[in-house]
């Protein structure tokens, strides 16, 4: 049933147009919230259609759509998804529902603009994951930042202007290189189709420049050390919904970009420079793990924790060359890449849950300072249960999704080099240390002050928001196979691409 519809176009334009409708209706319209929720839920249901109609057996692009857009330059409106993009699209549509629910009572100013920003952003982000034309990708890649800047700039905290500009400059810095790389590839291939880019032969020198351009562009998004410092600032100033989208989706575009562009287009350069990405990833895990320990602001702590967790994504993607060198079996490399993907999806849910939990506290206490809390579990026992659960997921406890990706990447890293696994596995200690120490200071102990004594536990809206995330985190942790099954063909295809020289 789903395969007959132009499902991807629907997924992109329904939220965008819906967002515009919400926007036009204005702030006084009581329908702004329910309408936004309806649009986001319909989008979610449609996106699940992608999973249902998805053919696991092929690495070919599915649900493909093609139309000429700017024929002079052979730029097309080309859409399609594979095992990498499909889970990320569902993550996007799910996160948007959560964000709409999260902003329900909290956002009192310019409600329709707020909701519209997130709906439009949803469409644009889905478009980023679905685009098969480089220019189309680039346009959406840039366009999706605009609503995000607005969200931080309008509904953000006191220092929002600095954060927005820093974020803007960082990403602009990255995008310039991306555009140059795409234009060069067009020059070589005569096409803007990303799949055509995959087929182009390139010298090692060409590949190296292109690879570095891709790396800069996407490393900023991931973000990798040392281009990560925009993230804590952006999170601190962003409203809860902004943080959720930032952590759950925006960072994933970095990882997705490396999968879609860097690895298949420049495999030889990726191999020659894998030491660089691996080093930066391990620095992210260890260095950032320590930095997270030193944080006194809840959101900063979780932001740093995100960077450390994303280190597993880039690590998993770039250890494959060394695994190939050490083993004859493909399983280790599959484990690494799928581990990276699972880590992205899982981090999307867990980081969203963590930021929502901070939001729950912030809405009541209007502070993010850890020292302002203490003994919250006394007054908010149900919330306390969720907080401990998500903290454990963040610390990678087996049975939660947080474990799966890290486990896969660490297992694979051992096959690349013992020390990679050794350094990556420090997250077991560091991740638990910064997360549970935070939980101890915020949740446990005697009631610290009068503000904490006045706290009220979760309302029904907040309960279901966190409960739905908890169920997913638990489900992926107990049975990740349905998630990884859809990736197998695409992962194996990617691995065959990266193991063939293009020189």
């Amino acid at each position: 049933m789903f395969t007959d519809l132009p499902l991807l176009s629907l997924l992109i334009w329904l939220p965008v147009l819906g967002g515009i409708v919400v926007l036009i209706n204005g702030d006084n319209n009581p329908w702004a919230r329910p309408l936004s929720l309806l649009i986001s839920i319909v989008t979610l249901v449609l996106s699940i259609g992608l999973y249902v109609g998805f053919d696991n057996a092929t690495h070919q692009m599915q649900f493909a759509e093609q139309a000429s857009w700017i024929s002079t330059f052979n730029i097309n409106y080309a859409l399609g998804i594979d095992g990498f993009s499909m889970p990320l699209i569902i993550l996007t549509s799910f996160s948007t529902v959560i964000v709409v629910v999260a902003g329900w009572e909290v956002i009192k100013d310019r409600v329709s603009q707020y909701m519209a920003a997130f709906l439009i952003m949803e469409g644009l982000m889905i478009a980023v994951f679905a685009s098969l034309d480089a220019i189309l990708f680039y346009v959406f890649f840039e366009a999706m930042l605009i609503p995000l800047f607005l969200v931080i700039g309008i509904w953000g905290g006191p220092n929002r202007v600095y954060a927005t500009i820093k974020f803007f400059l960082y990403t602009l810095f990255g995008s310039v290189f991306l555009l140059l790389a795409l234009l060069y590839l067009h020059h070589v291939s005569g096409s803007f189709s990303i799949l055509d880019f995959h087929e182009v032969s390139l010298t090692l020198q060409e590949q190296t420049y292109l690879f570095l351009a891709f790396l800069i562009a996407f490393a900023v998004k991931v973000p990798m050390w040392p281009v990560h410092t925009w993230l804590p600032d952006a999170h601190v100033e962003a409203p809860t919904g902004g943080s959720v989208i930032l952590a759950a989706i925006t960072l994933k575009i970095g990882g997705y970009g490396l999968i879609r562009f860097a690895l298949p287009i420049t495999p030889d350069a990726s191999m020659a420079l894998d030491w660089l990405v691996i080093s930066l990833s391990l620095i992210a895990v260890v260095y950032i793990g320590f930095v997270a320990l030193a944080q006194s602001d809840l959101k900063k702590l979780i932001a740093y924790s995100s960077i450390a967790h994303m280190g597993f994504v880039t690590l998993g993607l770039f250890i494959v060359f060394r695994i190939f060198a050490n083993t004859t079996d493909i399983s280790g490399a599959v484990l690494a890449v799928e581990g990276a993907m699972v880590q992205m999806i899982s981090h999307g849910f867990i980081a969203a849950a963590m930021f929502l939990s901070v939001g729950v506290l912030y809405d009541r206490m209007h502070t993010r300072e850890i020292s302002a809390y203490g003994g919250v579990i006394n007054t908010m026992p149900i919330f306390g249960g969720f907080a401990v659960f998500f903290a454990m997921a963040n610390a990678g406890l087996p049975g939660t999704s947080g474990f799966v990706g890290e486990f896969m990447v660490i297992l694979a890293a051992f096959q690349a080099n013992f020390w990679f696994a050794f350094l990556a596995a420090t997250t077991l200690i560091l991740g638990a240390a910064y997360t549970l120490w935070m939980v101890k200071r915020v949740m446990f102990g005697e009631i610290a002050n009068d503000d904490v004594a006045q706290l009220t536990d979760l309302n029904r809206r907040e309960f279901w928001m966190l409960a739905s995330l908890a169920i997913i985190v638990l489900a992926i942790g107990l049975w990740p196979a349905p998630l990884t099954e859809v990736m197998h063909s695409s992962v194996e295809h990617l691995l065959s691409q990266v193991s063939q020289s293009k020189i």
Binding site: L169, V291, A333, F407, F414, F418, T426, L428
Partner: protein, 648 residues
Amino acid sequence: MTTNLLLALALAPLIGSIIAGLFGKKVGKVWSHRAAIIGVATSFALSVWVLKLVAVDGETYNQQIYQWLQAGTLSLEVGFMVDALTAMMMVVVTFVSLMVHIYTIGYMHDDDGYSRFFSYISLFTFSMLILVMANNFMQLFFGWEAVGLVSYLLIGFWYKKPTAIYANLKAFLVNRVGDFGFLLGIAGVLMYAGSLDYVEVFSQAPSMSEKTIAIFEGHDWSVMSLICILLFIGAMGKSAQVPLHVWLPDSMEGPTPISALIHAATMVTAGIFMVTRMSPLFEFSETALSFVLVIGAITALFMGFLGLIQNDIKRVIAYSTLSQLGYMTVALGASAYAAGVFHLMTHAFFKALLFLGAGSVIIAMHHEQDIRKMGGLKKYMPITYWTALIGSLALIGFPGLSGFFSKDSIIEAVHASDIAGSGFAYFAVITGVFITALYSFRLFFLVFHGKERFDTHGEHRPHESPAVVSVPLILLAIPSVVVGYLIGPMVFGDFFGNAIIVHAEHDVLAHVAEEYHGVLGFILHGMTQLPFWLAMSGVATAYYLYMVRPELPAKIQQRFQWLYRVLDNKYGFDDFNQKVFAGGSRRIGQLLWKLGDQKIIDGAIVNGTAKTVGMVSKWVRHVQSGYLYHYAFAMIIGLYVLLTYFVV
């Protein structure tokens, strides 16, 4: 044995836990504990049935339940493996758990977190069952961490107490240090065996043992030694071996029933179980076995000393647990796995008994835990007294009680072993016998005999605990006496069958078995041996020091101040960890953040760039004059430059 039987067995406590935990408020206190107890009782009954199927009918089970994940040719599955080792563990875990469940009704009846407590201990039982029933490393790790989670929740059960929430964080992090090694070990297993399934990995063991890995350039290490030591680091965390033992004494901050169940009888023995399960791997590495032996010996001896000077009733027993875990580890190192697991079983019964007895005393003393403020409780609490006597005698290895059989077989096995470190280990376990007797009966005499040193709280005299407390004590006292008589089949016989693999050159138990001529002979032989006389002199010393000349201990303490201080500081492990690891990490974090992120990356590069851009744009602003002819001129120049470039 059917899959459904095992599923029901494993899931029954989980269901109980969910009812008590999520719906505790709705169903009320009584139905919370009923649900939990029915779940665990079901599990226990089915475990006994499974043990019968394994031991009598000779059945085993090894099947997958569902595929957890697939990557390439690698399949990670959730499944059960039940053999004699598993079946024994299942019975021990569910029996002690059931006793603790019943006991909890009495111990926790006034606590606000009553339902929550039942939920946790049932969840623990589920996790522990998954751990012992696993047929692969992934699921083993799941159970491993799940019991760690429940331990964290239960140590911090009274979350308002600063010491409790300090202790639970410490316990979790120290265990994570062990898990760090454990996970790397698992990754090594996957790399060199190509699978995480037990049977598959064990069948690869001979070929794995021939491989080497160069962790440091130019130094080839045996893969098997590396993997086994990494796995054992995990066991050191969970089974609290030096230097990762530091969390266990602090874990006594939790309610007493869980000290009995988790921090004495079952969870802390997970490491012992794991190494036994991995005997097909450990047997290939004498390096790893020696490492295990020496660590165990250090723990057995030096943790025993600490028990001598503790005054908190639970901490004395906690240090005794550490020391006894050392004994079990020594047995593993000597390849006497069966003896180690046998001691695990006997210890589970008598140590749970001692802890629950201590809990009974604590109730009577209105939550006073200092043994200097007790004394003479014998006449008020006869059941607690007699069961505690049985537990203490079993612990010190009094002939005929369970601990005697298991401990003596460990001592004999170490004596027969000749791998590196066995001389020291033998010295440690022999000396440990005297120390064990001394601290156990110091505790026993101070609590139950002599003058009444407690404040009677007016009219309230101490009295025996209610039946829900005393009946579990009696039920635990029975196996504490009788299970030792299983030594024939379990240690010297073939009860474990293929579950434990020992290479002929390490088979010390076969050596000891040559001298074994039935239980009675073993007892009579034991009474002529050094350990028995050491134990007796330990009891006599305790009697002399604390009953006959009670002023002496203080004098000895005065005389040996420096020694007392070393012991009182627990050899300085806690201070060292607190300063170097906890403090050091925080300082590194601060340094990297302030210097790396804020000064260098943000200060010099990012904001520096912004400043440079600012300066450049000031200059560029002159170019943007707004006059059309300026722009036209620039365009023409630009076009000219481009044309020149392309044409020339």
